[in-house]
């Protein structure tokens, strides 16, 4: 494949997946500016490391890079918060942050039902959130999801079962 043809394929691939990548990042990191940074870093790393891989492998590889960038973001946040608030009581700090942080969905005008589902997904533990995004929504195979999350296929199934149960339960309660 010529350089031009490769670049056209990459452009087409990234254009088709950039909104999904942004949605995944936003569900995970919650702040739109952070989500944009994560997606840009993922695109750069993906092109640098995997552009010469067969295009049939690009999708799971791109999501794997994206998830790594999300994890890096969380690590940086934890480290920064630990450094910045090292003299404070951690419980108070968490409470302050929770009360001051803007709603993750404040920038998005989506339907109430969808809002509740997204909020429920955002409340899930990280790995349950990831299986919902990659296995359930993006319909990656169990093995591909396991590769993205760097866990075993058995754990993917377990997390998915727990996550769907939890979302159903949360939605059931809110409509009761």
């Amino acid at each position: 494949m010529s350089e031009q043809a490769l670049n056209r394929s990459l452009d087409d691939f990234l254009r088709r997946h950039q909104n999904e990548a942004y949605a995944i990042a936003l569900v995970s990191v919650k702040q739109p500016a952070d989500a944009l940074d994560v997606v840009q870093e993922a695109m750069l790393s993906f092109i640098k490391s995997y552009r010469l891989k067969p295009s049939s492998d690009w999708r799971p590889l791109f999501f794997r890079v994206l998830q790594n960038k999300v994890n890096d973001h969380h690590r940086r946040q934890k480290s920064w918060l630990r450094h910045f608030f090292s003299g404070h009581d951690q419980t108070d700090v968490a409470a302050e942050q929770a009360s001051e942080a803007p709603s993750p969905l404040s920038a998005l005008n989506i339907q109430d039902q969808g809002n509740e589902v997204i909020a429920a997904i955002q409340d899930l533990p990280s790995q349950q959130q990831q299986v919902i995004l990659y296995r359930h929504w993006q319909e990656l195979s169990v093995q591909e999801t396991a590769d993205v999350m760097q866990i075993s296929p058995g754990s993917v199934k377990t997390h998915l079962f727990r996550a769907t149960q939890k979302i159903k339960s949360l939605l059931g309660k809110s409509h009761a």
Binding site: N7, Q18, L36, L133, W137
Partner: protein, 117 residues
């Protein structure tokens, strides 16, 4: 082929979440994509690596062949004492010996034994 609409509330919510990206964010995502692709243009595929690897392999094979072509019998003979000297050099030096070296050299030059002194 476009995806069929889903009745799964989780997928519906996530599809809606994805589709409601505002124009400003869309512009920034496009910019991010162009930046990433521009980087790909600056780092073209390293096609030169293949011929370079071939040349290196050929050079290694030629060198090995040249070494093997000359059998050990054709190699210049070495004085076996060189290895004995190496052993001596490798051993821990006796400092007293080196201190007396000048004296022993003088004895040798004058055909004398140490007991003659």
């Amino acid at each position: 082929m476009p995806k069929e609409p889903t009745h799964d509330p989780i997928k519906q919510a996530l599809d809606a979440f994805r589709d409601q990206v505002d124009v400003a964010t869309q512009v920034k995502l496009n910019e991010a994509r162009h930046t990433a692709l521009a980087q790909a243009d600056r780092t073209p595929r390293r096609r030169w690596l293949l011929p370079a690897a071939g040349v290196a392999t050929m050079a290694a094979v030629t060198f090995t062949w040249a070494l093997l072509k000359h059998s050990p019998s054709e190699w210049p003979e070495q004085d076996p004492s060189i290895f004995a000297d190496l052993e001596l050099l490798a051993e821990e030096a006796d400092t007293d010996f080196y201190q007396d070296l000048e004296f022993l050299t003088w004895l040798d030059d004058n055909d004398l034994m140490e007991s003659d002194i």
